[in-house]
């Protein structure tokens, strides 16, 4: 994975390379509207928006406070603001779900079957963003990735997997075990050796899973520090450091997760 993350169409008839991040932060990155998260309140850029139907100021709300018509998505709305939440990482999940259900009742296309073509489209846009936002925010890891993306800290091309040093020895052994397992299979399934290798793989798998749990725990801790920093108005340099730490935990986590998944695959195949 190189630096070039913009999609390309290759002259030889190759397919385009689209943006390749897993979570939809790119919507904002790509529109060139990275939000300077250090100082932005969650309702940025919503003050001057007016209703297309009655021209009342809407403040970026889902529905016009004056005439009640569904409103277009203002550019730069973020998932936190969509739910009327601050950009904090510790989320009350039952409360998030309650808001998700309440907004679903109001925004879902079912309610707009007899509305105008425009309103039907707006309902489709808003309800799809509601679902996208809920899918992202309810998952603690996706939530951090998304927040970092909003802050411009996790852009295209910056995302990479980092091998955690404490696992290097394990990874080395894992590769060796995999090679030997393959050889054992090719030489006609030496049952005893296969069983021994399987034991080794299972041990490695356990180790990787516990590393994954460690990374998750660390992410939770740093997320909590981030929320406290927001509350106490900590300086931007400290915030930036915290974001860098979260970014590096995410990179490590993504590496470990790949290890867990590939070991699982091999184990399932033996």
């Amino acid at each position: 994975m190189g630096e070039v993350r913009r999609p390309f169409f290759l002259p030889g008839g190759g397919a385009p390379l689209p943006n390749h991040e897993e979570f939809p932060s790119r919507l904002f990155d790509l529109a060139g509207q990275d939000h300077p998260i250090m100082s932005a309140p969650s309702t940025t850029a919503a003050t001057s928006i007016t209703c297309g139907n009655c021209s009342a100021a809407t403040g970026g709300a889902h529905f016009c406070p004056a005439c009640g018509k569904i409103q277009p998505l203002p550019p730069g709305t973020d998932y936190f603001a969509f739910f009327g939440l601050q950009r904090k990482l510790a989320l009350d999940l039952p409360e998030l779900e309650r808001r998700f259900h309440s907004l679903s009742w109001r925004l879902h296309p079912d309610n707009f079957m007899r509305a105008s073509e425009l309103e039907r489209q707006l309902s489709l846009d808003r309800s799809s963003q509601l679902n996208d936002a809920y899918r992202t925010l309810r998952d603690p890891v996706a939530r951090v990735e998304y927040m970092l993306g909003l802050a411009g800290m996790r852009k295209e091309g910056q995302k990479k997997q980092q091998a955690p040093p404490e696992l290097l020895e394990e990874v080395f052994e894992l590769n060796e075990s995999l090679d030997r397992l393959r050889e054992a299979r090719e030489s006609g399934e030496n049952a005893a050796e296969t069983a021994g290798l399987r034991g080794k793989l299972e041990a490695a798998q356990q180790k990787f899973e516990s590393s994954l749990a460690d990374a998750d725990q660390e992410l939770t801790q740093v997320s909590a520090q981030w929320d406290r920093a927001l509350d106490s108005g900590t300086d931007d340099a400290t915030k930036k450091k915290l974001m860098e730490r979260m970014n590096s935990i995410l990179n490590r986590r993504s590496y470990i997760r790949n290890l867990v998944e590939s070991t699982q695959k091999v184990l399932a195949g033996t």
Partner: protein
């Protein structure tokens, strides 16, 4: 404005239901035969007239080459996809088929959505007859695991039948809606939907909120080519193996194959109730295939089929992040859940007795009617939040798929992607959209291709944002914006499988003739067909009786037969389809002793003079 209905367009049977605003509970509408089950069978006459439903099903025996069943298996698929089904199903695919399958019926050729539209028209006519009012809008159900192409094909079928398709609803979810209304259930529910040709599992969470009840689907999985059909085919391959061991090759007797299939389906139904059953089947050479099947033997044959449903069940639970013990209710849907082995397997897996209070054949149509009620505004306190069953992705360099909307995302769902050019003066960017879980494009389902046209310029200058949106029916919509110009960018998306809009329009124009045919006129054609089939069969049987047992036919029986034949011929001269049907039934009754005797005689040649009840 006419009525809105809910339709279950099934592999074996289809049903139509409605929700009365005043009565509350949804109801299925019975057809002219008194049952709400309309066989999903279509047949074309020698003169080009089309019949669907029961009349067509009867023709499976007399004119199999003009008749098609299980067409749902072909919806949204390309010729290359169906090679496996062609080995088991008597589909006659037109060799000219490219991206859309074309099926030959007699000397006419139809696409699967057209054939499905004939079934939908039949149901529509039932409802119009019932309401004495027009029916023009519908909610149609689809297997939850249907991909975009299969959904589009279903929507096209609705359009071709003259229906505005308000929404496609997933079958297990529809069942959950019907159950929720019926039982007021709350909590985590698994819906196990094993139908005629498809299997779905959906995990739902039912939540009461201050606004009403939310039916939120957490995950879904399935197999769109696994169903009761497979059980029938297994029974059939056993029977045909044994029949050919008796020295009879059925390959040259398509009618007999259909009769055998019918007899084996009856045996399957009996084995759902009883511990054993007996198949007695007359072969073309006059011999009889006689076979006792025990439940244990039957279970052994079908166990691999039932086992195949369990991998999707485990995957759906894993995706919902739930253990089987955390499921509070299990609901069984679909005719194949009547099979005892299916019930036992599901009960053991979840460790609880599944619900099957509602008729498993009707529950999906009832749920579709509830959703129709919701969309019409009559039902205000229910909301269904469904998911997309398959991940949506786009092909990137090296044929790798980049997933942009993961499976089990609540729909509507969307993703935006920015595209630009890579070389000097490039004028287009090709986009290939796919659906599926595999990593390589060649292993996923191709949905569509389109090209973003850009003005020539230096590489990287164009900035076109493409929005992929999966709507509430699970169908993909694509739109594009030119970010530099700040305006919509027009694209033409070509479906990889299925009809494009122009083709749907053309078929619609051609079918106006059919649309104008009025209901009773069609009933008359069907009734006449049936009468002729019945008269022909009686004549044949009497001729055979003359040869095999001359002089044995009792005089009073012969009188009754002659009377019934004459009465039917007289009714046939008139134009009252109900009268014709009534006399078909009379003749049918009158021929029963004769049929019984012929069967006994055939059997006795095998069992050396024993009577049927002695063997």
């Amino acid at each position: 404005m006419g009525r809105t209905v809910g339709i279950d367009l099934g592999t074996t049977y289809s049903l139509i239901a409605y929700q009365d605003k005043l009565e509350g509970a949804p109801k299925c509408i019975p057809g002219p035969y008194g049952t709400p089950l309309c066989p999903s069978v279509v047949s074309v006459d020698a003169d080009g007239a089309i019949v669907a439903g029961e009349a067509a099903r009867r023709r499976l025996l007399t004119q199999p080459e003009r008749t098609i069943y299980s067409v749902k298996r072909l919806m949204g698929r390309g010729p290359a996809d169906v090679q496996e089904e062609l080995k088991i199903f008597p589909f006659r695919i037109d060799p000219g088929s490219t991206n859309v399958i074309r099926v030959r019926l007699g000397d006419r050729v139809f696409t699967p959505p057209e054939i499905s539209a004939f079934i939908l028209r039949e149901l529509k006519s039932w409802a119009e007859d019932y309401f004495q009012d027009s029916v023009d809008r519908a909610v149609i159900t689809v297997p939850a695991y249907f991909n975009d192409a299969q959904r589009q094909a279903t929507r096209d079928a609705g359009r071709l039948a003259g229906l505005e398709v308000l929404r496609l609803v997933n079958e297990p979810t529809a069942a959950a809606l019907a159950y929720g209304l019926h039982e007021q259930k709350r909590g985590r529910v698994a819906v196990y939907d094993f139908g005629g040709g498809t299997f779905d599992i959906s995990i739902l969470k039912l939540v009461s909120t201050t606004d009403g009840d939310i039916y939120q689907v957490l995950s879904t999985n399935g197999d769109t080519h696994l169903g009761g059909d497979d059980i029938d085919n297994t029974l059939q391959s056993v029977a045909r193996g044994e029949i050919s061991a008796q020295g009879v090759d059925l390959a040259t007797h398509p009618e007999t194959v259909q009769e055998l299939r019918k007899a084996l389906i009856a045996a399957k139904h009996e084995l759902s109730e009883a511990g054993k059953t007996t198949v007695k089947f007359a072969l073309p050479n006059g011999a009889v295939y006689f076979r006792e099947i025990t439940r244990a033997e039957y279970d052994g044959w079908i166990r691999p089929i039932v086992e195949r449903t369990m991998a999707p069940v485990r995957q759906a639970l894993a995706d919902a992040k739930l253990a089987s013990a955390e499921i509070e209710e299990v609901v069984l849907v679909g005719g194949s859940t009547r099979v005892p082995l299916v019930r036992r397997t599901v009960t053991e897996f979840f460790g609880r007795r599944p619900h099957a209070e509602l008729n498993p054949d009707e529950v999906v149509a009832l749920g579709a009617a509830v959703q129709a009620g919701i969309l019409e505004g009559g039902v205000k306190d229910m909301l269904l939040l469904d998911v997309t069953p398959l991940s949506l992705g786009i092909e990137t360099m090296g044929g790798v798929v980049a997933k942009i909307i993961p499976r089990n995302s609540t729909i509507p769902a969307s993703a935006q992607e920015l595209f630009t050019t890579g070389v000097e003066n490039q004028t287009g960017i090709d986009i290939h959209v796919l659906q599926g879980e595999r990593e390589l494009a060649k292993d996923c389902r191709s949905l569509a291709r389109f090209q973003l046209k850009v003005p020539p310029g230096p590489p990287g200058l164009a900035r076109i944002e493409v929005k992929f949106l999966i709507d509430a029916s699970g169908i993909l919509q694509v739109s594009a914006r030119d970010l530099r110009a700040g305006k919509q960018h027009s694209i033409e998306v070509l479906p990889s499988y299925g009809l494009d809009d122009a083709e749907v329009e053309r078929i619609l124009e051609e079918s106006i003739e059919y649309a104008e045919q009025d209901f009773s006129e069609r009933q008359l054609i069907e009734a006449r067909n049936e009468a002729e089939i019945m008269l022909h069969a009686t004549e044949k049987a009497l001729a055979r009786e003359q040869v095999e047992a001359p002089g044995e036919l009792p005089a009073d029986e012969l009188r009754a037969l002659d009377g019934a034949v004459a009465a039917l011929r007289e009714a046939l001269a008139g134009a009252d389809y109900k009268r014709i049907r009534a006399f078909v039934d009379v003749l049918n009754q009158a021929t029963m002793p004769l049929a019984e005797r012929m069967m006994n005689r055939a059997l006795s040649t095998v069992f050396e003079g024993k009577r049927l009840d002695e063997v």
